[in-house]
Amino acid sequence: MAALPPARHLLRAKDLADARYAEPLAVADLAAAAGLSRAHFSRAFRQAFGESPHVYLLTRRLERAASLLRTTDRPIARICFDVGLNSLGSFTTSFTRMYGRSPAAYRAAYPPAADYALVPGCVLRAYGRPQHRTFREDGADGPVIG
């Protein structure tokens, strides 16, 4: 009998982040879902999916926030808490960094779109997730030398 695909256990952690982003999930919870120690998990997750579990969870939450900004009239502060973030200030900062405009400006730029009506929700969720951007404080996007 063949073994499970190599990354199948890591997918359980990713699915947990997708399903329960609104709860106070931490990397330790994701590691437990994958059945790995926290230190080993972060490395393995990053190797499999190209970003750290922390960043994945953050971008998932911001993607859900962007979706709620587009499709609901909930107040911005409530959206922040509804996606599992607990600081309005850091939500606004992270959102603005990823989407290039503040939550309010983002909402104003996207009238509720019936265009999305027939695209499955899982597709929107996957393709709507923002590309993680930093101010290069972690050096990840630094210039290639040589």
């Binding site: 063949a2 199948r8 890591l10 997918l11 699915d15 999916f49 899982c122």
Partner: protein
């Protein structure tokens, strides 16, 4: 002339595990299960939904040499296991009932039933990591 979809392929890591999942948990029926000794015991295994005889899903084992070199096989297994390889979109006339029934048989849902603009749907993965959506489409205007 007509062209219709007959069979679509899913990569699976283990055909026995996949067969058990798709028949005993999802409730599909076996359409073909043929092992060919002359092709290195290649097993053509297809399943399909009861009541829709002309469409099936082929549960394809990820092959080794000579079809795939070992590195490619590992890559395919890895991509399947990351959930990036395949998706199947199923429809139902009652999403909540289907969710309850499949959950009761041990299907591990990643999305519980929820209303979408197009219908009510939920989602699960097969044992290999393939994403399956189960949707109860609303009636749309102009259709």
């Amino acid at each position: 002339m007509t062209i219709k979809i007959a069979t679509a392929q899913l990569w699976v890591h283990d055909q026995e595990v996949a067969l058990d999942f798709w028949t005993n948990k999802v409730g599909f029926e076996v359409r073909a299960d043929v092992t060919l000794p002359e092709l290195g015991n290649f097993r053509w295994l297809t399943v399909g939904p009861v009541g829709q005889d002309d469409i099936s899903v082929c549960l394809m084992a990820v092959p080794g040499q000579p079809v795939m070199d070992d590195q490619t096989r590992e890559q395919v297994l890895d991509v399947v296991g990351k959930g990036f390889a395949n998706a199947v979109f199923l429809s139902t006339d009652d999403c909540d009932a289907a969710y309850a029934e499949l959950s009761g048989r041990g299907v591990d849902f990643v999305d519980k039933p929820e209303d979408r603009p197009y219908g009510r749907d939920c989602g699960f993965r097969d044992p290999s990591g393939n994403q399956i959506r189960l949707t109860q489409l609303f009636e749309l205007p102009n259709q």
